[in-house]
């Protein structure tokens, strides 16, 4: 029985406003937090003893996973009170780890096949993967399956292999790694001392979220792998095509059309005459009023969207209430995140608990902070901080 330590204390600064009240690992992809995808992958590979290192907004993790019973695992929580890097986070688990254990990030999306072989390897080892843009990650140079060095975000990559930040370690290693460092640097130091680190390659799912719109691309990829369930009430004249999953006590009213892949949570009220197009995820307790169209979007729990709205390539976080005739159509946009500029095709990004009046138009690329209020008939654009009032 292998044990896994999952680091889930990270905040995800560039993902604001979606990380304003939850850690990055709790971002929802295809109806589940990223961390739940990770835990399911582990449970699917027979790893059921899990240590979660939590910090930022940890209550969200406690409340969702509890003791792990719903996910079929045993969870032990360890707190990282101050954020001092990944090696420090790992060292918080020193008192509860077994002789050998896996280390994973709670905010990188994986599936069971990613780690299926890796769960059985001997420590010390790192799981590596070939990617197209290695310079964003820790580039790994290897010799005869042994890691020579992990270089974090180099200007020029010496190889296309990157570290997935999934490791198999032994408890002794925790005695030698330096709490002040990132895990990759601590392992470089270990290699320099002559202790080997073996590399295993995977071609399974391994996806990172860096920017808010990455939520959409990951959602699209993961939705293709869902096992659909049919738990609700589907009224007459509803058309369902492709992979469509409907949660319990959700009502889809007459003449709605849903084209999968689409996941709809529990207790939603959809329609009549609502159109949901690929690849869309909808949380629990969501209302989509008549004549609304949603395409390639992620809608959080407890959201209400009024009649006649159009939502494309957008993320609407939980608890937002949007009156009728809201438009968030996708288009080419220039978006600024910290000091980086990005141009892409996207709709709107709305933080949690927003209150939007009727007939509001969101320009492509708008990022509206959490708990903002927008009066009827306004046009919103650019980046608006949390608690904005648009009157």
């Amino acid at each position: 029985m292998k044990q896994a330590v999952i680091l889930a204390a990270g905040e995800g600064n560039r993902l604001r406003p979606f990380t304003a009240s939850k850690p990055k690992a709790m971002l929802t992809i295809a109806g589940k937090p990223i961390l739940e995808h990770v835990i399911e992958a582990l449970a699917g590979s027979g790893v059921r003893s899990i240590v979660l290192v939590v910090g930022y907004r940890r209550e969200q993790i406690f409340d969702y996973f509890g003791s792990g019973e719903q996910s079929g695992v045993e969870i032990t929580y360890v707190k990282q009170e101050r954020r001092l890097g990944t090696a420090h986070a790992l060292l918080q688990a020193k008192g509860v780890v077994a002789d050998e254990f896996l280390v994973l990030s709670g905010d990188k999306l994986i599936s069971a096949d990613t780690i299926a072989g890796f769960v059985a390897v001997e420590p010390e080892a790192v799981l590596v993967k070939r990617v197209d843009n290695p310079t964003r990650y820790g580039v790994v140079t290897i010799e005869d399956d042994l890691v020579r060095e992990i270089t974090e975000q180099p200007k020029v990559a010496e190889s296309s292999l990157i570290s997935t930040r999934i490791y198999a370690l032994s408890r002794e290693v925790l005695n030698v790694i330096d709490a002040r460092l990132a895990i990759s640097d601590a392992l470089n130091a270990m290699i320099a001392q002559g202790r080997p680190l073996r590399a295993y390659e995977t071609d399974g799912t391994w996806l990172d979220i860096v920017y808010p719109w990455d939520i959409l691309s990951l959602n699209g990829l993961i939705l293709r792998q869902i096992n659909p369930e049919m738990g609700g009430v589907i009224e007459k004249g509803v058309s369902l095509r492709g992979l469509v999953s409907v949660g319990k006590n959700t009502v889809i009213r007459a003449n709605s059309s849903i084209v999968g892949p689409v996941v709809i949570g529990d207790g939603c009220h959809i329609g009549p005459h609502v159109c949901i197009l690929p690849a869309t995820s909808i949380g629990d307790n969501v209302v989509l009023a008549p004549l609304t169209e949603v395409e390639n979007s992620v809608i959080g729990s407890d959201v209400t969207i009024g009649a006649g709205s159009i939502i494309q390539d957008s993320v609407i976080d939980q608890g937002s209430v949007i009156a009728g005739h809201f438009t968030a159509a996708a288009g080419e946009a220039e978006v600024r995140i910290n000091d980086e500029h990005h141009s892409l095709k996207v709709g709107a990004m709305l933080g949690e608990g927003c209150n939007i009046g009727s007939g509001v138009v969101a320009q492509p690329g708008v990022i509206l902070g959490s708990h903002s209020r927008v009066k009827a008939l306004r046009l919103i654009s650019g980046r608006l901080p949390d608690r904005s009032l648009v009157f």
């Binding site: 029985m1 009240s21 409340d63 003791s67 929580y77 006590n249 307790n285 407890d302 209430v321």
Partner: protein, 593 residues
């Protein structure tokens, strides 16, 4: 969720099984039972608590046994439906957690083959299937029996004189605790931690033969090795899921329990109980409860009177029992979290004798209240361990709201607005929880005082009472809840700089009057801590401390305001170093009058 346990080794199995079962109590259950092998099988089971079973169970000797806590799914809670279940010969006993989807087909077939069934459960097909396939090897018979089953299971099989337990898992959790020439089996690790911290986790598809000396596991016919894990955490830590106290955990569960209520009823527009259909000429209503449930009842009174224009009487059950008169045509609602509150049960009996219609609202399936009332509404808050009621109060409130809103007399336009607000409540409550840091700062101020007044008006008057009750029970600070207008009729004499006043506001017709009351308190030198809506500018001039809560329709203001006061009570108690989850002199359910 059901729980299963098993024991085989050198000790007397009976006390071990009862203790393991008690450790699974947090999963919630309505009945329980055990079976022991002392040459022949002896079974003792019933509805009710494990402690009650322990009192009535005769001394059964045996070195192997199985036990079960049941949360009814197929078949009502009853002695017959409780596990363990036996085969026709009474030599094979089975406990099971999970659901067998094809049990009706199997049952009909087995009945046709001459097997006789006594319960309504899906589980009972398992011992009969094992009996059918038994050819001298228990494990082979279990494999053949499970091969017929479609569904999920964690099962433990005990057969007379076999000196082994056969266990299997598919879709429901199961672990084996490893001791010194003894083994413990359970749904969950906490059940066995009193005896051992060495645990084997079974995987789906595993079947294990467990004797006192060893465990051999097979998966789809082939032997597999399942390694031992050493458990380094304690039972309580696991159940607290990261939190320092159960009370804080349960406060934080409120967005989820509110959402569950919405998913179960509001989404499918299912009426909780159709009052109109049951009593056409309903002219008044009576609500009875004790403690925190009484405060939920008082809030219910405002909601029912405002939305349905029916006069409502709210009575404390222990008072009503001694004087209350009622007419047969009244519909009564009795609210009790545990379903075992002695005073409330007595009230229900009295009302039934007067031919009143009684609706019970309770959190415990199969509890006495549910058996006595005409109709029962379950609140599904999950087990509440902290003595101070938090999430169970919230769900009682949600049920009362929906009870009223599902009643057809409300104007459809107003109803649509209310439903929209109701659906937004989980996020609103989440936002109050996000204020924990600020509230804990104010709590450290409050913790320095020995007397605190809580004031509110209208629908927030019961919230003041609840805020005061929470503070006294967990922090031992003397606290009093008042209708704000009543302060000047006497209590003013006590106000001064050492008596903080917690004022609970809502933007309804009481708002202006509350501002005047706050000014009066300030004029006597009392520090004021206000719970007020976001964007309330007027209060900033008046209050010393402000806990802001999200804007909701005034009728739902008790929801967000109560959560703020729960956190205030919790952090104050923690600051004072009180045993938050188990306050002195108090019990979770009050089963004496």
């Amino acid at each position: 969720m059901c729980g299963v346990v098993g024991y085989i080794g050198g000790r007397n199995a009976q006390p071990v099984l009862l203790n393991c079962l008690a450790r699974l109590e947090y999963r919630g259950y309505d009945s329980c039972g055990i079976a022991l092998d002392g040459g022949s099988l002896r079974v003792c089971k019933d509805i009710g608590k494990i402690a009650e079973l322990a009192k009535v169970v005769p001394q059964l000797d045996g070195l192997a046994g199985i036990g079960h806590t049941r949360w009814a799914t197929h078949g009502a809670p009853s002695r017959i439906n409780a596990h363990p279940h036996l085969d026709c010969s009474g030599t094979i006993a089975v406990v099971h957690n999970g659901i067998i989807n094809n049990f009706q087909v199997l049952r009909r077939r087995l009945e046709a083959e001459g097997h006789s069934f006594i319960s309504e459960t899906d589980t009972e097909v398992i011992p009969h299937l094992i009996e059918k396939y038994y050819r001298g090897s228990l494990e082979e018979a279990v494999v053949a029996a499970l091969g017929e089953i479609k569904g999920s299971y964690a099962v433990i099989v005990l057969a007379a004189g076999e000196s082994k337990l056969v266990v299997a898992r598919n879709g429901s959790p199961l672990i084996i605790g490893v001791g010194d020439r003894e083994h413990f089996i359970a749904s969950d690790v906490p059940a066995v931690l009193d005896y051992t911290n060495r645990v084997i986790y079974l995987e789906d598809g595993d079947l294990a033969v467990v004797t006192s000396g060893g465990v051999s596991v097979t998966s789809r016919g082939a032997g597999v090795e399942r390694k031992e894990t050493r458990i380094l955490w304690s039972v309580e830590d696991a159940q607290k899921a990261g939190y320092e106290h159960f009370m804080l955990k349960e406060i934080h569960e409120q967005p989820k329990v509110i959402r569950d209520t919405l998913v179960n009823w509001v989404s499918v527009a299912d009426s909780v109980v159709d009052i109109a259909a049951m009593r056409r000429n309903l002219e008044s209503m009576l609500i009875l409860a004790c403690g925190t449930s009484y405060h939920a009842a008082l809030i219910g009174k405002y909601v029912i009177e405002e939305l349905l224009s029916i006069p409502v009487r709210v009575e404390i059950a222990s008072e009503f029992n001694y004087y209350g008169q009622t007419l047969a045509r009244t519909a009564a609602i009795a609210i009790t979290q545990s379903g075992e509150t002695a005073d409330t049960l007595k009230t229900i009996r009295k009302l039934r004798a007067a031919r009143c219609l009684v609706i019970a609202i309770t959190n415990v399936v199969g509890s006495s209240a549910s058996r006595l009332a005409d109709h029962t509404i379950y609140t599904w808050a999950g087990p509440e361990i902290s003595v101070a009621a938090t999430k169970s109060f919230m769900v009682q409130l949600m049920v009362l709201y929906w009870l009223v809103m599902s009643y057809s007399r409300i104007d459809p336009g107003r109803l649509a607005e209310l439903v929209m607000d109701l659906r937004g409540l989980p996020e609103k409550v989440q936002r109050v929880l996000g204020r924990g840091d600020v509230i804990s700062e104010y709590a450290s101020y409050l913790a320095q005082h020995e007397d605190v007044f809580f004031i509110g008006r209208g629908i927030n008057f019961p919230v003041a009472l609840e805020g005061a009750l929470k503070l006294k029970e967990v922090s031992y600070i003397h606290a009093e809840g008042y209708a704000a207008g009543e302060l000047k009729h006497g209590s003013f004499a006590l106000l001064g700089s050492g008596t903080p006043v917690v004022a609970i506001l809502a933007r309804d017709n009481t708002y202006e009057a509350m501002l005047s009351n706050i000014k009066e308190a300030k004029a006597r030198g009392a520090p004021v801590l206000a719970v007020a809506e976001e964007g309330d500018v007027a209060i900033r001039e008046l209050a010393d401390f402000i806990i802001t809560v999200p804007v909701v329709d005034a009728i739902f203001s008790p929801v967000v305001n109560t959560v703020a006061l729960q956190l205030l009570a919790y952090y104050t108690a923690r600051e004072r170093g009180c045993p938050v989850d188990t306050p002195r002199n108090l019990a979770k359910s009050v089963t004496v009058e």
